[in-house]
């Protein structure tokens, strides 16, 4: 079951990269960035997942060798990473708005005053 997650994560990252390379639209570049983020988030959550594990909420006395729960650290990492991803997307979108105002287009081939 986990293999599906890993394959899914890989596909999302690659699709995101493809989107950034091939799509000549700044909005789609932002979408590509977002997809890469989601792919990595899926990867991290999958790393910490144990099939059949419970939620990792215990008091010390309950904790024993037999307790079987999913790893809480990757979930914390994913939360952080999601927040960062949201910030990055917000920043990218605000830059797209500014670019549209200044250049009158969001076509990447026309937004290339800095070159050479």
């Amino acid at each position: 079951m986990l293999q599906v997650n890993y394959i899914g994560a890989f596909c999302l990252i690659v699709l995101g990269m493809y989107c950034m390379i091939a799509k000549k639209n700044l909005m789609k570049t932002c979408i590509g960035m977002g997809m890469m983020d989601y792919g990595v988030n899926l990867l991290i959550v999958s790393v910490g997942f144990h099939d059949g594990g419970t939620a990792p909420i215990f008091v010390i006395s309950e904790l024993s060798r037999a307790s079987f729960f999913v790893d809480p650290v990757p979930q914390a990492l994913t939360l952080t990473s999601i927040v960062i991803g949201a910030c990055t997307t917000a920043m990218a979108l605000s830059l797209v708005i500014m670019a549209k105002k200044q250049y009158g287009t969001i076509n990447t081939e026309q937004i290339r005053r800095l070159n050479g």
Binding site: M17, I21, L26, M33, L43, L77, A92, V96, L114, N115
Partner: protein, 650 residues
């Protein structure tokens, strides 16, 4: 180690973030309050770092700090840690000095911009995040700091959002930088999957058991290229060029002097401490190869530039290429020369960016084809620029010479001991790059400060003392680090090199004595004694420079007594009645045509050189197309290349 010392690193980080918070709260009301808070925060962070020199650099301690006192439980690091060894402190010092200088420069430089509270909030967040990155002992924390660093840097790049291209440069930086961040995070996820820890020391201790696993190697490749993105190595260098050209000069200093150092720090931590695989030949080829390509490609790109700061940006990456090539050699001499050059790069490149900012502040232009002859109007800035240019071009006795000299030696020594032609080739490329750097700075000096003054800029005023003081701080540091390589080596480079090459100590200080050996970490890498093959005495060079300067000055003063009058020709044209009658008599015989404005523009100075190599230059010009998709493509290709290379050869 006293209790108070252990708190210094976290206080240094906190004071910057707290400063950012306070500026956001109170900075809008009063300029004095805003500048005061920023000054105190950056100065305070620098003071904390300086206070750590004694215990860490001289006594060789490693300061560890567990946030919330979550110390390791039965050999497992469960809390977030801060660990300051000499390597971290070395970069911490470089960063805090650069941040402090940038901050006091910005007080005057940014004066005419609005919403400065936002500027200083973002600036202090950027400073705090880079300091947090180099002091952190936790891999995921490093990632978080990288992300804060990236998007505050992006926001600051676009700060003057009416400036032509600012939005564009910022967007490219953000989008292609996201590739690097994704690579780092994926690498961290893969490492966590194997090791179930994020603590640097514990990863370093347990990783050797998994050294041959393809997953480990993949994680290495991803982390390497991720940190490489933050150092703007070869396929990512267009981002730096675009961002630098449009960012305010104080932020250019931060991007070139501080952000690239974070990437360099990440790579050093990665290959020397975390994976300890710097002695694997394939890793050396990888790191040195990327460094060499960056240094050569970027220096040739600089020839094509017409924008002062964009040109400096390419040189910046070229110098970072030197640093990365040197640290990839894997020898003590290589690492210490790389660290030396990293420090010098921050100083002289910061100085050059600030002089570029001063020129922009005074004239409103950065166009090398329009500027010219500013030495007459801005003589003090010109001297500062010449110090910076001499340093970056590697003229003795300035600091660029000392560190490049060590890098040549390190590469040559590596080539001769290993008998490998590749490292000799690296040494030769480094030499050629240095020559090209000098040529390029002759071009800048000629087209900005010397040559003829354009009529357009005849009312230019010298920048104020408040802007020159930060430049002088950097210039004096440039001269001192060049004149005293022995002292620099003793107090900064040798401790940092030893710390980087002694992963066992790093692990033991964090996780408890004997932890590294019990996990089978082999021990410190190689011989850490640094011996230099060549000998040079900077003081003699200083005397020589002084004598030559005196000779030139005497000739110039004596020469100016003879009234040739050619320089005053345009004035004579406007006011012919003021010409002395005796000279007016001979005017028809001597004057000929009045001299006209005929400055050789920046793009024409090396016309012959560029003409002969025009295929290469036009190819490179087209290659840096400015389209974000292309840059993303180069980035993805680089990631793929590094992954394939690592899995195939490491």
């Amino acid at each position: 180690m006293t209790i108070s010392m252990a708190h210094f690193p976290i206080l240094a980080i906190m004071v910057l973030f707290l400063g950012a918070f306070l500026v956001a709260l109170f900075g809008r009301k009063s300029e004095v309050l805003r500048n005061g808070i920023s000054f105190l925060a950056t100065g305070g962070a620098m003071a904390f770092m300086l206070a750590l020199i004694k215990p860490v650099m001289i006594d060789g301690e490693v300061i560890t700090y567990w946030l919330g006192n979550w110390a390791p439980v039965s050999g497992w690091a469960i809390g977030i840690s801060i660990e300051v060894d000499a390597l971290s402190l070395f970069f911490g010092l470089v960063i805090t000095v650069a941040v402090f200088v940038s901050c006091i420069y910005a007080f005057t430089y940014m004066k005419e911009d609005d919403s400065l509270a936002n500027y200083f909030t973002l600036f202090l967040m950027l400073s705090g995040s880079v300091l947090g990155l180099v002091l952190s002992g936790d891999l995921f924390n490093m990632f978080v700091m990288i992300e804060i660093m990236t998007f505050t840097a992006v926001a600051l790049t676009a700060f003057r959002n009416n400036y032509e291209g600012a939005i564009e440069g910022a967007f490219k930086y953000l989008a292609v930088g996201a590739l690097g961040s994704t690579a780092v995070l994926t690498g961290i996820a893969i490492l966590y999957c194997q090791l179930h820890t994020l603590n640097l020391a514990q990863i370093a201790a347990t990783l050797p058991q998994y050294a041959d696993s393809p997953l480990t190697i993949m994680a290495f490749g991803l982390l390497f290229i991720g940190f490489g993105t933050k150092a703007f190595i070869f396929p990512f260098h267009p981002l730096a060029a675009d961002a630098h050209a449009v960012a305010p000069a104080s932020i250019s200093l931060m991007i070139s002097g501080v952000l690239t150092k974070c990437g360099v720090y990440g790579i050093i931590r990665l290959v020397y401490v975390l994976f300890q695989n710097v002695e694997v030949p394939a890793v050396q080829y990888l790191v040195v190869g990327f460094g060499t390509v960056s240094m050569f490609i970027c220096v040739t790109m600089a020839f094509n530039q017409h924008n002062f700061k964009r040109l400096l940006a390419f040189h910046s990456i070229s110098q970072v290429g030197y640093v990365i090539a040197a640290i990839g050699l894997g020898t003590a001499l290589g690492l210490s020369s790389g660290l030396y050059h990293a420090m010098n790069h921050t100083l002289f490149k910061g100085l050059l960016f600030l002089t570029a900012g001063a020129v922009q502040h005074a004239t409103g232009s950065l166009d090398l084809d329009r500027l010219g002859g500013l030495a007459k109007k801005m003589p003090k800035t010109c001297i500062l620029f010449l110090i910076g240019a001499a340093s970056i071009s590697g003229l003795p006795p300035f600091n660029g010479f000392a560190s490049k000299w060590y890098i040549y030696q390190a590469a040559f020594e590596k080539g001769s001991t290993s008998g490998n032609f590749f490292f000799i080739f690296v040494c030769v490329v480094a030499l050629i790059t240095s020559v090209l750097t000098l040529a390029s700075f002759i071009k800048v000096a000629q087209s900005v400060f010397f040559g003829q003054l354009s009529p357009e800029f005849k009312d230019t005023k010298e920048v104020s003392l408040a802007m020159r003081i930060p430049m002088w701080i950097l210039a004096v540091l440039c001269i001192f680090t060049g004149l005293l390589p022995g002292k620099v080596s003793e107090y900064l480079l040798t401790p940092a090199t030893n710390a980087a090459m002694n992963a066992v100590n790093y692990i033991d200080q964090m996780m408890g004595q004997g932890y590294a050996v019990s996990h089978g970490v082999a021990g410190s890498l190689g011989d850490t004694a640094v011996t230099f093959a060549g000998v040079w005495d900077p003081v003699i060079w200083l005397l020589l420079l002084f004598c030559v300067t005196c000779a030139v000055a005497i000739v110039a003063i004596l020469g100016s007594n003879r009234k040739l009058g050619t320089r005053e020709a345009p004035a004579a044209l406007q006011e012919p009645e003021k010409v002395a009658p005796a000279e007016a008599k001979y005017e028809p015989f001597f004057s000929g045509e009045e001299s006209v404005y005929s400055q050789v523009g920046g793009s024409d100075l090396f016309w012959g050189f560029k003409h002969n190599l025009k295929k290469y230059f036009s190819f490179m010009h087209d290659w840096h197309s400015g389209i974000v998709n292309d840059y993303a493509l180069y980035g993805v290709v680089a990631i793929a290349f590094v992954l394939v290379f690592c899995i195939a050869f490491v």
